[in-house]
């Protein structure tokens, strides 16, 4: 489902003397349906960079990244948009939404985008929000005013509302209490059981042990060490 092959990446800072900063070399990994692969490595090793390349958020200098049948290195924008809409979900650490849009609408949006009718989409949104302990009185309010932990759970609800065949999770349990953490891990287990291929970053070693089948140490792809 997810195949990363010999990926290379560097940033060129044109306004700082055209400094070229190599950040990744020879990155290679695979993620199969029903499998959760953890990206590990110290801060700055490139876990998020790699994940952003898989999502098409960062350009790929060379090598290939395939998700389903799309090669992110060569795909045109509309192919990546279609991939993100239907196939590849991403739960980032930050919630980025239009201000003043109710939480219920924020969570139903990915479903509306794939053509689910509003009633079904809202019912599904309410179901995930309930499971993640977002109280009903918050549903009509915008998540931009919520606490960090609440925002994160809204982000997770949004990511899990539509059943994407592949998912990227960037620290989904970071600022959650024990109960909510357990719910998120259960959601991940359910997704795996349904055949979803997952790539995740978890600093929480117990969470990793519970849901991840394998670990890939990204520091092996950090240029300093590879050189």
């Amino acid at each position: 489902m997810i195949t990363v092959e010999n990926v290379q990446k560097s940033f060129t800072l044109h306004n700082q003397g055209s400094a070229v900063i190599p950040v990744m070399v020879g990155a290679t990994l695979t993620g199969k349906p029903g499998e959760c692969v953890a990206l590990v490595g110290a801060s700055g090793a490139g876990k998020s960079t790699l994940m952003r390349m898989v999502y098409g958020n960062y350009r790929i200098a060379s090598g290939s990244i395939r998700v389903d049948r799309t090669d992110l290195a060569t795909a045109v924008p509309r192919e990546i948009l279609a991939l993100r809409r239907h196939t590849l979900g991403y739960v980032s650490q930050f919630l980025r939404v239009v201000p003043r849009v109710p939480t219920r609408d924020v969570v139903s949006e990915p479903l509306l985008a794939v053509g689910v009718d509003r009633k079904t989409a809202e019912a599904r949104a309410v179901e995930v929000l309930t499971r993640l302990n977002i109280p009903e009185r918050l549903w009509p309010r915008s998540p931009t005013t919520f606490s960090g932990g609440e925002q994160q759970r809204v982000n997770i609800a949004r990511g899990f509302a539509h059943r994407y065949p592949a998912m990227l999770l960037d620290e989904p349990t970071a600022s959650l209490d024990a109960g909510n953490r357990d719910t998120v891990l259960t959601l991940i287990e359910e997704a795996k059981a349904a055949g979803v291929a997952i790539l995740g970053i978890f600093h929480d070693a117990d969470a990793r042990a519970r849901v991840c089948d394998r670990e890939v140490d990204v520091s092996a792809f950090t240029p300093e060490r590879a050189a």
């Binding site: 306004n15 952003r52 098409g56 958020n57 960062y58 350009r59 990546i80 239907h86 239009v98």
Partner: protein, 252 residues
């Protein structure tokens, strides 16, 4: 746990067919195709050699500083100005892709009344220009009767009456209160999705394009210096000018 999950989370194949939407991936013809569009003001470049395909359902943002040619380009695309070179092909309902620059005058005049809509930066220009059915006296005599945001929504609403397929927007949130901007953005996102519209939005506000546009085109001195997915261009800008633009945004 697995059994209950099947009830909670439907299988994608069963309930949510993949690639079902007509708006992306499946369409074979772009809705709008710009090929080498150029416009000169004497010696000065308005916009030079701009080419792109806009697909049904896509929202494309055009950003760049004042004088970068983004409004000139928008006006050339929308038929308000005629380009000095290049073609602007539109997927007409009856004849497929036709160059709007060379099509017959009556045919070109029909487009803004049927398939196209144009949202102006200054709502009142848009409202007055097309003789909206609001007493002119109300707008002229008491501009305070409608708020800026209300006027902008009114303008968008009346633009949609003809059931357009493509909407051109020139700084749609420019000059509006921040609180009104957010509601307008949400309105536009919903309209694009529910009415299956495509849109080209000219703005200098990077926050607006991040939330609204699927794709982004960055212009400088009349030239397109970078294009791509909106988040890709903003988060991993390749061109020196785009890097400068992104680095210059004040963080709130």
């Amino acid at each position: 746990m697995t059994v209950s999950s099947a009830e909670h989370l439907p299988e994608p194949a069963a309930e949510i067919p993949l690639h079902q939407g007509r708006e992306e991936g499946t369409a074979m013809t772009p809705l709008l195709q710009a090929a080498g569009v150029s416009k000169f003001y004497g010696q000065r470049i308005g916009c030079a050699d701009v080419s792109f395909d806009l697909w049904p359902g896509e929202v494309m943002g055009i950003v760049g500083e004042s004088g970068s040619g983004k409004s000139t380009l928008l006006n050339c695309l929308a038929g308000h100005q005629s380009p000095d070179a290049g073609a602007v092909r539109f997927d007409t309902r009856d004849r497929g892709l036709i160059d709007t620059v060379t099509m017959s005058e009556p045919e070109r005049r029909m487009l803004p009344r049927t398939d196209w809509a144009f949202v102006h930066q200054h709502a009142r220009a848009g409202l007055r220009m097309d003789r909206v059915e609001i007493a002119a006296a109300r707008i002229d005599d008491r501009p305070s009767a409608f708020s800026g945001g209300m006027q902008q929504r009114l303008q968008i609403a009346r633009n949609l009456v003809t059931g357009p397929r493509l909407i051109f927007m020139d700084e749609p949130t420019g000059g509006l209160d921040v609180s009104v901007q957010a509601r307008l953005l949400d309105l536009m996102r919903g309209l694009v999705r529910e009415m299956d519209l495509s849109a080209i939005i000219v703005t200098h506000d990077l926050a607006v394009v991040r939330l609204l546009a699927d794709r982004l085109m960055v212009m400088k001195d009349g030239h397109v210096v970078e294009t791509g997915l909106t988040d890709q261009v903003l988060d991993d800008p390749q061109h020196a000018y785009t890097q400068l633009l992104v680095a210059s945004v004040l963080q709130v």
